[in-house]
Symmetry: C2
Subunit: 151 residues, 2 copies
Amino acid sequence: MQLTRFTDFGLRVLMYLCTPAPDQREQAVTVAEIAERFEVSRHHLNKVVQFLAQQGWVVTTRGKGGGLALAQPPSHYRLGQLIRTLEGDLPLIDCAEPPCALHRRCGLKPLLDEGLDAFFAALDAHTLADTHTAKTQQVLVKLQRLSRPSV
Amino acid sequence: MQLTRFTDFGLRVLMYLCTPAPDQREQAVTVAEIAERFEVSRHHLNKVVQFLAQQGWVVTTRGKGGGLALAQPPSHYRLGQLIRTLEGDLPLIDCAEPPCALHRRCGLKPLLDEGLDAFFAALDAHTLADTHTAKTQQVLVKLQRLSRPSV
């Protein structure tokens, strides 16, 4: 049981955008920068960022000096909600593929749904801000410093 | 975020074996029967059943009249424990593939672990017996009746 790579990247982008505050950077964060820092394909990350923008979670500004930023403060993003949306709200088991003989009369399904609700409830008790611990912030600041042109 | 097909089949086999009591059947349940009832490959199901036997969850008897049965009453199997074992106790995100720049300094990982613990705790509140609702039992009894040779 693993989160999809799409969700994984979506969360990494959102965490990356937590720091630093825009006015402390010379240039806006770009998809290219994040792709390079996390060593993932820019093409793949573009799709993820497009989704994040569609959800209203990030704002993108085009042109010279343009880039990405969080649309809201990190504390506004409930982790459970982020993951549920990124995952596409899929059920834990696809009862129709292959078609299960117990489909629609299954005593397991409601219990799995209960477990999944507990999972998201535990995550909703936290926000994106809670992922931004001191250690995480240290690493992110270092990663972002790599982007500054040397003078 | 989905359970693996291996876990899916493992649970289906265990549920199938909940009913009926062995003395109410003319023949023991076989892998071939379950494979046919759920329309899945016998080869695939053999691997699953092998795993279930290794865990001590089912007993297999060889030879004429041989087959499968639960090793313990259904109420002895905690759902969370079954799923955790079938899933191989994998983390929700593989931080090493692709290697994440935040690895070991990540504020997200402990929160995901917390969510996963909540998921398994909710499931451990139930046993295999709880999956065996009246509706599920009805379907399973019908499925098993299909196996009886016509007289």
